[in-house]
Amino acid sequence: MSDATVDDADATGRTERLGDRLRAELEALDAARVGVYAALFALTAFYLTPIESGLVSAFKTNPAGISSTLPFAPPPLRFFTLEKWRTAITALGRGMVNSALYAVPATIVSALLGSFAAYGLTQADWRARYKAPVLAMLVAGIFIPYQAVLVPLSQFWGAIPLRQLLTPLWVLGVPSAYTGIVELTITHVAYGIPICMVLFRSYYRNLSEEMVEAARLDGATFRRVYRRIVFPVSTPMFAVVLIYQFTQIWNDLLFALILVSTESSPAAPVVLILAGLGESMEGQDFALRMAGAFVAALPTLIVYIMFGEEFADGVAT
């Protein structure tokens, strides 16, 4: 076992302290350690199998490679192909750009607004009696099922003459289907504010009260305290919120489906294209689907692997 030395050192220490009586118990403990690691590795297999199986399948030819090899075995050379990846990247490339076009601004704006709201609701001194309902409505906003707002949302965006308002863009040669991207951005900002607010709020509540009071006494207005003290101090929390929010917005399908509606639209986000990828009259092309899934997941996977700690902090709050 890889941690044998650690356990041995540990064991010596304890034996010295507690006497030989514990020796038997310690051996049992070692057996327990073996059990713990066995369980951990089994679970690792459980969590990684779907991903691993998808990854190897994405390199196989369809249908021959897919149907004649084990789903989790790497492709033998004669069934190996990169063609599915090429197809997936071609199909999803424009979707990746579209997704980034709304996911990035929506993430930044919702994080900023969430931080504003949290600051105005934690560090400002106004009556709890009035503050509580505002807070409750913002917090409850996290838990609203999107279905409850979909029909009005379609009506709302249908009634707003966004396409006319954005005429300069179309003149510049942007396809007018990109109104959908603008709608998605604003919608995601609005529905992202509650969770961002709650994440920032837990952070701002633990800020030193004296520090903020000191800044007020130093002559800074409420706004300047945010700009010069609270905002710079909350950089770590911004990392957490931005990462979490980006994953959520990038991954969301429902709003994209409602507001952009067809995967053939030039403004179709990557999730929308992926949901219909590899469907054809002849049946499903699983190799293509898997390759597509990885391509679509790539940005969030990169973010996750690079900033796993922040992501974990985000979900734990």
Binding site: S2, R33, L43, Y47, T49, P50, I51, S53, G54, S67, P71, F116, A117, Y119, G120, A124, D125, W126, R127, A132, M137, I142, I144, P145, Q147, V149, L150, V151, P152, L153, S154, Q155, F156, A190, I193, P194, G219, F222, R223, W250, N251, D252, L253, L254, I258, V271, A275, E279, Q284, F286, R289, A293, A296, V303, I305, G308, F311, A312, V315, A316
Partner: protein, 356 residues
């Protein structure tokens, strides 16, 4: 130190005065913007807060007296996000409710002159809605409970001062970072009748093959299993934070008292995780209610596999596939009430603890 006193002090006063003035201006400007927004959305809570519109400094002071001293000064921070959420979330829910009272369908806009509860009557009599409600309930409850149990076991395992703790944790949480659309692809392949890992693994024990997606008796449980795979890592992280917050003395005290490891966890540690359980359960239930993305992606369409139709999919199908807008709105209200019955008590519980 004293000679620069007088000049500095007078400058200071001037600066302070100017600051206060510009503050007031900014707030009035904000107030104007808000009132425009509020008439737009017509939401009640917005109306109450836009009083600064066209107000004087005296009015601002009176507002501060009424609501607390930083009220107007902090309003530029919390009011715009609040109004945005108020409009998009609560305004939309109210509007949705009104639409559900109309007969709106097809491509002609809703007629708001004739409001009744017809759509709710129709929903109560629609066996598809009843089935979807039952399925939603089963999905939410089964998924939440299983994910909580698995997550707690994971957390306890990971909390055993193991090596490579970060690596294990990262792996278990990995599915959570993926989109429902992506995980649906993976599980579609896992559950594939001929070549899926699940059937091949079970085949090794002489079981199956099972048609996981095609069998209406099984498909919901297959979905639950996939969702547990995706979100038990989340539960683990929440429980891990809860476990880490328990002082080591409690473990040591239980050990000294002679409790076995299992007994120690069951009687000393698990009861202290009540707070973690509640917050994790709430979030899991909400994920379950949003399982639409997963089911849509499984079939690349509005109609999920037989036996896996939930209110979320039913609602979207009614609205965007068959254009029964009013009916879809009514179903959405039912779904909303289900969510409310979960989060209402939760918010009250948080309020009671002084967290709101």
């Amino acid at each position: 130190m004293r000679e620069f006193l007088s000049t500095a002090r007078s400058r200071l006063r001037r600066a302070a005065g100017r600051d206060a003035g510009s503050d007031g201006d900014a707030e009035r400007a904000d107030g104007d913007g808000d009132s425009a927004l509020a008439t737009d959305g017509g939401t009640a809570e917005a109306g109450a807060d836009v009083a600064p519109a066209g107000g004087t400094d005296g009015l601002l002071d009176r507002l501060d007296d009424r609501f607390g001293e930083d009220f107007t000064e902090s309003a530029p921070f919390w009011l715009p996000p609040f109004l945005l959420v108020g409009l998009f979330v609560y305004g939309a829910i109210a509007w949705n409710f009104v639409i559900s009272l109309t007969e709106y369908k097809g491509f002609v806009g809703p007629d708001y002159s004739d409001l009744d509860l017809d759509m709710y009557v129709r929903a109560v009599g629609d066996s598809a809605v009843i089935d979807a409600t039952v399925n939603t309930f089963v999905l939410v409850v089964a998924f939440t409970i299983v994910a909580l149990v698995i997550g707690m076991l994971l957390a306890i395992l990971v909390d055993q001062k193991i090596r490579f703790e970060n690596t294990f944790r990262t792996i278990y949480l990995l599915p959570m970072s993926l989109s429902f659309v992506v995980t649906a692809q993976f599980w579609l392949w896992m559950y594939n009748f001929n070549n899926g890992v699940v059937n091949i693994a079970l085949g090794a024990f002489g079981i199956g093959p099972v048609d996981w997606i095609g069998n209406p008796q099984i498909v919901l449980w297959a979905v639950v299993f996939a969702l547990v795979w995706q979100f038990s890592g989340y539960t683990m992280v929440v429980y891990l934070a809860g476990l880490r917050a328990i002082p080591t003395e409690h473990y040591e005290a239980a050990k000294v008292d002679g409790a076995s490891t299992a007994k120690m966890y069951w009687r000393v540690i698990v009861p202290q995780l009540k707070g973690s359980t509640i917050s994790a359960a709430i979030v899991l239930m909400v994920f379950a209610l949003k399982a639409f993305d997963f089911l849509y992606s499984l079939v690349s369409g509005y109609r999920p596999p037989n036996g896996a139709d939930i209110l979320a999919t039913k609602m979207v199908r009614e609205a965007y596939s068959t254009n029964n807008w009013a009916y879809a709105s009514a179903i959405a209200i039912v779904l909303f009430l289900m969510a409310l019955s979960i989060i209402g008590p939760y918010l009250y519980y948080e309020y009671d603890k002084g967290n709101l």
